[in-house]
């Protein structure tokens, strides 16, 4: 296990370095936005990885409720924590890009708003995990994980309609459709690197959560035995 982890870590470091070179030096400079557009190579991979991890959280939460396996709970916790971290990167890199390009830090545009709401939902999930007590945490968290995931399509519909009804306060020009092939290379390399990085983090956190769980079990067992000895 440890050697596999180390090998993966080295590969991830190499991929991140290569992705950095691709994004900063090799990808062509965007015609109108200039160099600030390069933040996109970190913005988009983080977003996709975060959404993927939230989906993993939903699967792990459902699995926990069906099987009550501590492994599923550990995976749910790990994916939510790492997902929130990557989602935070998305919400931070977005405004840094938007300020020079749109002229404003933030706008209540459909995609920005739904990402923010998603972030809020999963932060509240982590808060519940933090405040819940003892052995009830996994069950309570799993139910909230399912509620959160079920909410996502409704949030998306609501905010899209909300935004199409009101006039856009922004000068158009999202990144979207017209991406040059050379830019795609940088996007894909960084996507791979970020996915690997997320996998490593989730794995590490998963093992830690499992270790925590078995440690608590041992403590409980030990205190039971001490009670019996008396």
């Amino acid at each position: 296990m440890k050697t596999i982890f180390r090998i993966l870590a080295v590969i991830t470091a190499a991929l991140l370095a290569y992705g950095f070179v691709q994004a900063i030096f090799i990808a062509p400079t965007e015609a109108t936005m200039g160099d600030v557009q390069r933040i996109f190579y970190y913005h988009l991979p983080s977003a996709w990885v975060a959404f993927l991890l939230f989906f993993v959280n939903f699967l792990a939460s459902s699995w926990y409720l069906i099987r009550r396996s501590p492994r599923a709970d550990a995976l749910a916790l790990a994916s939510a924590e790492v997902g929130v971290s990557f989602c935070t990167i998305v919400l931070l890199t977005g405004p840094i890009w938007a300020r020079p390009v749109w002229g404003i830090w933030w706008t209540w545009d459909a995609r920005l708003t739904s990402t923010l709401v998603l972030w809020l939902i999963y932060v509240s999930y982590l808060m519940l995990r933090h405040y819940a007590t003892g052995g009830q945490i996994p069950v309570l968290a799993a139910t909230l994980g399912i509620f959160g995931f079920v909410d996502v399509p409704i949030v998306y519909m609501a905010i899209r309609w909300f935004r199409t009804q009101h006039p856009q306060p922004v000068i158009g020009g999202g990144e979207g459709s017209g991406l040059a092939p050379a830019m795609w290379v940088a996007v894909l390399w960084n996507l791979l690197a970020f996915a690997m990085l997320a996998l490593l983090f989730v794995w590490l956190r998963y093992l830690q959560a499992l270790a925590e769980h078995s440690l608590e079990e041992e403590h409980a067992q030990a205190s039971l035995e001490m009670g019996e000895a008396r």
């Binding site: 709401v117 509240s124 808060m127 007590t133 009830q136 309570l140 909230l144 399912i146 509620f147 409704i154």
Partner: protein, 243 residues
Amino acid sequence: MTTEAMSTKATRTEAIGTAPGFWSIARRSLVKDLRLEWRSKDAINSMLFFALLVVVIFSFGFDPTAEESRKIAGGLLWVAILFATVVALGQTWTRELRNQVLDAYRLSPAPPQALFLAKAVGNFIFVSILEVLMVPLFVVFYNLRSVGPLWQLLVVGLLATWALVVNGTFFAALSIRTRSREIMLPLILFPISIPALLAMVDATTSILTGDNSPIFWIRLLAVYDLVFTAVSLILFEVVLSAE
């Protein structure tokens, strides 16, 4: 899975003999809550006074003309109701903690969904009473006169209240299991309720100003209600029996 669980429960209760059915349990539980509330008036009083305070503070914060207030009243009204609802929801389950009533529920063969429905309907009634008393206050304080049809407001009101109450009742059951439960409830309720809040505020504003059709928002609220009523009923048993 739930129907299966319910049917096994039904056979179990039939074996005992005179055990009551699903709706009978729900009705009795609801009547008990209403009677308790009628005698103590804990939820209604605290909600009403809290909502009144919010309305007064809002009107200090904004000083709108009649035209402006039509545009912002939907938002203010629902934010005030949301805050007041949280005050009432917090008391839903804490009442059952005294004398280990909740543990008794867990041990009894009564279907947990019946208990959940009774609590949710009870909260729905309390919040509806609050709204009936609050709306005239808003009309007076903010000089409101609706441009759109009023019956649509009634539909929005019913759907929106259920949207707040169904998730709120469920999350109140989650949050009594945590440290500092009063803080926890809004922290988990508000993020999930954002689409419903957006829908109720925009629907109300559309009706008051008569600018847009509220039909999309009414549909969204209906979908939200259906989805989360189903999810709550399915998952409530898990939360009730969580150890």
